[in-house]
Amino acid sequence: MLSGAAVLVVLGLMIGSTTLDSLPVFFSQGISFLTGTNWDPGASRTEITGTYQAWVFIYGTLVTSLIAIVIALPVAVGIALFLTEVAGHRLARPLIYMVELLAAVPSVIYGLWGLHFFAPVILKPPANAVSDALGFIPIFAGPVISFNFFFAGVVLAIMIIPIITALVREVFTAVPDTDRQAGFALGATRWEVMRSIVVPRSRPGIIGATMLGLGRALGETIAVALLIGGGTAINFSIFQQGETIAAKIVNTFQESTPEGIDALIALGVTLFAMTIVINVAARLIVRRLGDVSGEAVA
């Protein structure tokens, strides 16, 4: 039916038109678009005269997402294990509901809450402590600025925990009970069953879920824009400001000249490429290698 084709058409149009508009920028900048750090929009209305080098934003995007994954993955796996292996049905149902509620909160509210409550009240004291104690290590160097990679990364982690948890839970549930019973029959403790049976069997699914969470983190715009600080240079400390691709687009869009907008589109295409690659890879991994019980997951 037409509706089915419509989906493909929309996606195709999206990729096509944005790539077309961004080609002049890519051609004029070459590989330095990805590797350079000088973003200096030009004022021309007909041609590309500025310098557009996006590494600062790519770096920021990768660092905040990395911080988010490092925090979210163990927590999500822990939650999923608890929900499938430990909690009974009666306890698990409301807990699952509440974790999913985290995903329903709009990102702008995460940003507002993060900026005016969570970061200054809850995250800043430990950040200050770490920076004071370990400040000689470059990634922990102070001073702790009120917007930085770390704050953005932690809030991002909270935002992606529900997705990863939901998918990992499905994978764990798909491990046949008989395997668990075999372990228990041999005298294993619950933890040992989890560690030696459930988790190893689910590894492809966990990897896939992580990558999907990562894809979501890469594209998150508003919460990060409010927390990351709009930096224009690379800062190695996670306690200092940075900028992500999505935040840069949203922050500078309204005032960009036509060539500036083309450059932002080029940034968007870059981000899209990053998320597509990760999403497709994740789904392929989950489908091909994640057949624990013969059913495709997610």
Partner: protein, 292 residues
């Protein structure tokens, strides 16, 4: 699939020690659950605590009061914009999404089915700011900012979500029901509209409402398509339009105390709207469940 020949690595030590370690690890996992639940409570709690004092009748029913410094005024224009664009987006995406889902379930072996399903999945991961950029490049440059283009970007975000969830629900319609329908002489379309859709209705409604809830909370694409407005806008297209998330976003970054209070009140309003839709959606979904 193979039953993997995995060595069952038991931790060394006495049974009691291993049991204790297992309980310890269970405790660690419970902590993980708390790490997710505490932020949830904090988000809801703080938003209510900070937003409630400023969420009064004036806030709900008036628009910008022309002073950034002073308290007063409200987000009515945002609420109207949110509902208007959300409604338009739903109109655009839900029928098309359910249609695509019907296509996928009724013609599973069609050439296009595989790609449509795969790319729908992929589209759910597209960054929302990118969707905004797309609508900007093909439409806003031609016809300007406004309600319609804002709604269109929301619709594009909703579409794959509706397709995926609707397809899952439609697949759960028991085969017997459809076969019974065919046995009685109905055509495929009659079966779809007379049997499958009504049976799947609660699930379809759930999926659609969740998609709408997601769209109402979106900010980034609207920055690039609706731009802004300071009063209620009912024009279909051609001027600025605003929405609750946009107003919150703009005042959240501000330094004026009054503006921040308005932002919290707006956040509370938005959160209530979204959570209301989410909770309702799940309630509807529970009305009827076919387990395959």
């Amino acid at each position: 699939m193979t039953t993997a020949h995995m060595p069952l690595r038991l931790t060394t030590g006495s049974g009691r020690r291993r049991a204790r370690f297992s309980r310890f690890m269970t405790g660690v996992m419970a902590v993980a659950v708390l790490l997710a639940l505490i932020p949830l409570l904090l988000i809801i709690g703080v938003t209510v605590a900070k937003g409630l004092p400023a969420l009064n009748w004036e806030f709900l029913t008036s628009t910008f009061n022309h002073s950034r410094r002073e308290a007063g005024g409200g987000y009515l224009h945002g609420l109207v914009g949110t509902l208007y664009m959300g409604g338009l987006a739903a109109l655009m995406s839900i029928p098309m999404g359910i249609g695509a889902a019907i296509f996928l379930t009724e013609f599973p072996r069609h050439r296009l089915s595989g790609p449509v399903r795969f790319f729908s999945d992929v589209m759910t991961g597209v960054p929302s700011v990118f969707v905004g950029l797309f609508v900007y490049t093909i439409l806003v440059r031609q016809i300007g900012f406004g309600t319609f283009v804002g709604a269109l970007s929301l619709a594009i975000i909703m579409l794959p979500i509706v397709v995926r969830s609707s397809e899952e629900v439609l697949r759960l319609v028991p085969g017997e029901l459809k076969r019974a329908s065919y046995a009685l002489g109905a055509t495929q379309w009659q079966t779809v509209f007379g049997v499958a859709l009504p049976t799947a209705a609660p699930g379809l409604i759930t999926g659609s409402m969740l998609a709408v809830a997601r769209a109402l909370g979106e900010t980034a694409p609207l920055v690039l398509t609706a731009l802004a407005a300071q009063s209620v806008v009912i024009d279909f297209q051609g001027g600025g339009q605003t929405a609750l998330p946009l107003l919150i976003f703009r005042e959240a970054r501000g330094a004026f105390e009054a503006g921040q209070q308005r932002a919290w009140a707006g956040a509370l309003e938005l959160m209530m709207l979204v959570l209301l839709l989410t909770v309702l959606a799940r309630l509807v979904g529970r009305q009827s469940r076919y387990r395959g």
